[in-house]
């Protein structure tokens, strides 16, 4: 079932020649355990790509490999067609936030961004800009050690933005953010994508991704499971609505007339697809048909995700 959601991707750069992240046949092994298993996918510009998978699926390993922090056992991870480690001033090409805690608590936010900027020949003015952008201007001269996880996430995001890069990559960026922060980040990611940048962010929560990503790459046990547009995925896994009524045949006719697929179930209930519960309720009311039950069934995106990856996690648990 999932196989149909994997695109074939022959090129590392899309037709417009825009910057991309390309992972080709990536394999990373820790001791005897395969963390990433022949993984291939491409992240395109102009959209937010979600990188999904349960904990331990290999998301972070893949992202570290993109940054050259892991040496792959096979395959490669390229940014803009080159290994990240070949980039002279990499922060200007790609900004990344892998671990918000990967900072020295003794430095101030400004000093932390300061050395990062200097290392890539980025002017000091840019530091103030990203501090402002990340909402950290007020705490810029406080030491990072006293920051909450959310503030550290904002600092990490500010660091990623520092080089005004065309490619951005975030590992679980929403962790620790408060609702306001989450809203802010979603807006930021959206605007970055709208500016034509390539944005990849990972998460282990599908719901979260549903509201943020245009496209998702789903992996499980180091393998690619799905690589598809969010709406396609949503459509594929959308659930049905169970309707019970004393007049099933009339209702079925009304619903079909409005484009729904209706199946009569053995116990007399109707399984309705392509219309949601609210629409069904409206139509029933208009037709004067009483409803005994109206329940949307199963198949939220979260469930879809679990179904997609369930196999791989079970397998993994079984393998232990």
């Amino acid at each position: 079932m999932a196989g149909g959601l994997v695109r074939r991707q022959p090129d590392h750069v899309d037709s417009k020649g825009a910057t991309v992240i390309e992972v080709r046949g990536l394999t990373i092994r820790y001791g005897g355990t395969l963390a990433v298993d022949d993984l291939t996918f491409t992240v395109k510009p102009g959209s937010v790509t979600g990188f999904l998978g349960p904990n331990g699926a290999g998301k972070s390993s893949t992202m570290r490999a993109v940054l050259g922090l892991e040496t792959p056992d096979a395959g490669e991870a390229l940014v803009n067609g080159r290994p990240y480690t070949d980039l002279r001033r990499p922060l200007r090409t790609m900004g990344a936030l892998l671990d918000a805690a990967a900072v020295h608590g003794g430095r101030t936010a400004r000093a932390h961004l300061g050395w990062l900027a200097r290392s890539n020949g980025i002017g000091a003015g840019r530091v103030a800009q990203v501090l402002e952008q990340a909402g950290l201007a007020g705490v810029a001269d406080r030491r990072i050690g006293g920051f909450s996880l959310g503030m550290k996430q904002r600092l990490g995001i500010a660091a990623a933005l520092l080089g005004d890069p065309a490619v951005l990559m975030f590992d679980e960026p929403l962790n620790g953010l408060d609702p306001e922060g989450i809203r802010w980040l979603r807006g930021l990611l959206r605007s970055l994508a709208d500016e034509g940048r390539t944005v990849l962010l990972s998460s282990h929560l599908m719901n979260e991704m549903a509201l943020t990503a245009d496209h998702v790459v789903v992996i499980g046990r180091g393998r690619l499971i799905a690589d598809a547009a969010m709406h396609a995925l949503a459509a594929h896994f959308r659930g049905d609505v169970l309707v019970r009524t004393p007049r099933p045949d009339q209702l079925a006719g009304v619903l079909r007339a409005h484009g729904a697929a209706v199946v009569r179930e053995d116990d007399g209930g109707l399984s309705v697809r392509d219309l949601d519960a609210a629409e069904i309720g409206e139509l029933a009311l208009a037709a004067g048909i009483a409803l005994a039950e109206l329940s949307p069934r199963g198949a939220s995106l979260e469930e879809a995700f679990l179904r997609l990856t369930g196999d791989s996690t079970e397998h993994r648990s079984g393998g232990r």
């Binding site: 430095r107 200097r118 890539n120």
Partner: protein
């Protein structure tokens, strides 16, 4: 790269903890001050002689250097381990993906901070040590150092600067270790082992190993770089080693941080650089000399100290005919202990003439203990050693009795007696007998120098050893690195004037008699009694009871002279006591008091003119030209020496009628070609020695304000200290420097 270096500098600067760490290095200053305080306390509670046995505190930096190293090493290690500890390394590597660049970009910033802080700290440590020691710092010690060495001393600014530099080096070593270990606790353990545990362990090793291994410890490199001690390495090698340690540590760090595929290349480059920077200076500094051609073995003398090594060298009997007949001389060696970098060889020229330098060196080996930290000490049995065996020993240790000739006829008769005595000994080997002058001895020393493979020699010439030392200075001035005259015979000085210290001693003897009831002449004017006695004896010799001899005034003076100038230990002055009793008895008509102790040393009822001494004296031109010169000298002496006139004539009179010509008469020193000399002498032999070294520009002399002869060999601490200081560092004491006799 510049951006990355600047970025690393910002990292370093932006952590307040680094500042606290540097402030913590002030503990090193406290350590220096604390140890200096304890030294000062101990020093104050010691006698002057014990103080001279203190080990020097040097520039004072060494006491706290381990503390400083540890702080700086931690600073260097934290620059990388804190990144691993916090995970920031991932952020850093994302910003700077070229891993070796990331590591090595930390070097300039750390180096600048550590260079500046290291210099500040080293000078603060030095200043603290010196301030606490105060005036005590100037105390000259037996090992030739002063208790503290101020910046005004050569080598000290260099050693303090080198100490500061070594702190910067240790910072980078810390960085390399930190990168290799990747964890702060792990790096601390490794660095503690390198900086504290290893040097401490080395100090527990047995001696030669301790010095050799100690030379390679980081903490001992600054002094070696400055050439101011610390170990056995030459400065260039020590500097190369310090750089090599840094390269090795950074190589280890770079290899570990590098991606797997690049490690071998990094390792090869690092190892090659480390080997080059350590080996090239070492090879360049390696001694170019051919080394000793002498084959050292056990000595034959049964009474020699165990560590004495002996070898023999063949020299021509007549240096004018180098291809002619040869004799063998025994050379003795007290080897350098290896505690410090060896400077060269000190050659101890024995006195006499006729003494064996090997026996003397063995007997006074203890006096050379400190000097042997830096030198091999060599002496030999000179060709004129009386028990050499070529000429009959029994013949050499005796000779004719000498009287003051009152006429040409008596002078001629003395000549005949002398000649007969000389010929008796000479008959065994006339050619050898005719080449026992001090210039031949000097040429023998030069042969030893060549055999030792030394470019130059340093000397301690004791007593009559001054005469061969002067001959050596004249013949081979370029081979003299340093020369110490210790109570040396002075062939240039008027002999009567040279006996003025005897008169001073006599005056002290007379004063003692006035003051001390132990003097048999107490209550009488000892000087007047003595002068009346010798005047009477010159007219009518005083008989020795039970012997067929009688002592003239001249005989009495000659017998008394050694006791006058060496009274024995205060306050008993046993030899003055003995002398006073002998005078009192002779005043009563019996000279046997003198004869008793003359017989003990000379095995003759009167002091004879030993052929074994004259055979060198006379060839060295000690004798009179003729009777007229004798007369003039005698009159001059009588004017100058109220109590002991005539004793200065003794040795010259022994040369009247000598069968061999004077081949080594006194001749001027090539003053301009010689390095400054050092003279040391006691109340009785200082003046002649001081006059001798005044003939070499820039020289200095130290007077020991007490009795004695051969002060260095006797182990007089203050003299040993000044001599060692001069021999080791060529630094001379200030004019007017004196050594007070130890109160006992």
């Amino acid at each position: 790269m510049i951006d990355v270096i600047a970025s690393e500098w910002m990292k370093l600067r932006s952590l307040r903890s680094n500042l606290y760490l540097l402030a913590g290095s002030a503990a090193a200053v406290l350590a220096c001050a604390g140890i200096a305080f304890m030294i000062a306390r101990g020093f104050d509670s010691q006698t002057p002689d014990e103080r001279m046995a203190f080990p020097g505190n040097g520039d004072g930096v060494g006491n706290g250097i381990a503390v400083a190293y540890f702080v700086f090493a931690v600073l260097g290690a934290l620059a990388i381990t804190s990144e691993y500890g916090t995970g920031m390394i991932r952020t850093s590597l994302a910003a700077v993906p070229r891993r070796p660049v990331l590591l090595l970009a930390k070097v300039p910033g750390l180096a600048v901070v550590a260079l500046v802080a290291g210099q500040v700290l080293a000078f603060a440590m030095h200043a603290a040590s010196m301030a606490v020691l105060g005036d005590r710092a100037g105390q000259v010690l037996r090992d030739g150092a002063t208790l503290g060495t101020p910046l005004s001393e050569p080598g000290v600014p260099a050693s303090v600067v080198a100490a500061g530099l070594s702190m910067a080096a240790v910072t980078l070593i810390g960085l390399g270790v930190g990168a290799a270990v990747r964890s702060t606790p792990g790096a601390l353990v490794v660095l503690a082992v390198l900086i504290v545990v290893l040097p401490t362990a080395v100090r527990t090793l047995p001696m030669p190993l301790r010095a050799q291994a100690g030379s390679f410890m980081i903490e001992n490199l600054p002094l070696q770089i400055a050439g101011a001690g610390g170990g056995t390495l030459p400065p260039a090698s020590a500097a190369g080693l310090l750089v090599a340690y840094v390269v090795a540590a950074l190589t280890a760090g770079t290899v570990v941080i590098s991606p797997v595929g690049h490690r071998v290349r990094m390792l090869v480059v690092g190892v090659v650089v480390a080997v080059l920077v350590s080996a090239v200076p070492a090879v360049a500094a390696a001694p170019s000399g051919s080394g000793s051609t002498l084959s050292w073995g056990d000595c034959e003398g049964e009474n020699l100290v165990r560590e004495m090594r002996c070898a023999s060298i063949e020299v021509p009997v007549n240096w004018a005919e180098p291809a002619g007949r040869t004799i063998e001389l025994t050379v003795g060696l007290l080897p350098a202990t290896g505690a410090q970098r060896r400077i060269g060889t000190v050659f101890a020229i024995p006195g006499g003439p006729g003494g064996s330098g090997v026996a003397d060196l063995s007997a006074s080996a203890g006096s050379f203990a400190e000097l042997r930290g830096r030198f091999d000490v060599v002496s030999f049995e000179p060709r004129n050693t009386v028990d050499k065996g070529v000429l009959p020993y029994d013949c050499l240790i005796t000779g004719p009795w000498i009287g003051l000739p009152g006429s040409r006829a008596e002078y001629a008769a003395l000549g005949r007696r002398n000649r007969a005595a000389a010929e008796r000994c000479r008959a065994a080997d006339p050619e050898f007998f005719d080449h026992l002058d001090s210039a031949s001895v000097a040429r023998d020393i030069e042969a030893v120098r060549v055999a030792l493979g030394e470019e130059r020699l340093s000397f301690i010439a004791t007593s009559y050893g001054g005469v061969p030392a002067i001959a050596y200075s004249r013949l081979f001035p370029a081979r003299v690195r340093a020369m110490v005259f210790d109570g040396a015979a002075n062939p240039y000085q008027d002999r009567a004037r040279g006996r003025l210290p005897h008169e001073e001693s006599f005056a002290r003897f007379a004063a003692w008699c006035t003051a001390d009831t132990a003097c048999a002449l107490h209550g009488r004017d000892a000087g007047a009694v003595w002068r009346a006695l010798v005047a009477r004896a010159d007219r009518t010799p005083v008989p020795v009871a039970g012997e067929g001899v009688a002592y003239s005034g001249f005989d009495l003076k000659q017998a008394a002279a050694p006791s006058v100038i060496s009274p024995g230990p205060a306050p008993e002055f046993p030899r003055w006591t003995e002398l006073a009793e002998a005078i009192a008895r002779a005043d009563g008509g019996d000279a046997s008091g003198f004869a008793d102790y003359v017989r003990r040393s000379a095995k003759s009822p009167k002091v004879p003119a030993f052929v074994g001494m004259s055979m060198t004296h006379c060839l060295d031109g000690l004798g009179f030209r003729d009777y007229d010169e004798y007369r003039a000298r005698r009159r001059a002496g009588e004017r100058l020496l109220p109590n002991l006139a005539g004793i200065e004539l003794w040795h010259p009179l022994a040369c009247v009628g000598w069968p061999a010509p004077a081949t080594n008469p006194p001749a001027p020193l090539p003053a301009g070609e010689l390095p400054p000399y050092l003279g040391v002498g006691s109340w009785t032999d200082f003046d002649g020695t001081a006059d001798l070294v005044r003939r070499v520009p820039g020289s200095a002399a130290v007077q020991y304000q007490g009795y004695g002869h051969g002060l260095y060999n006797s182990g007089v601490s203050c003299v040993v200290a000044h001599v060692n200081r001069y021999l080791i560092s060529l630094r001379l004491p200030a004019p007017g420097t004196a050594c007070r006799a130890a109160a006992s």
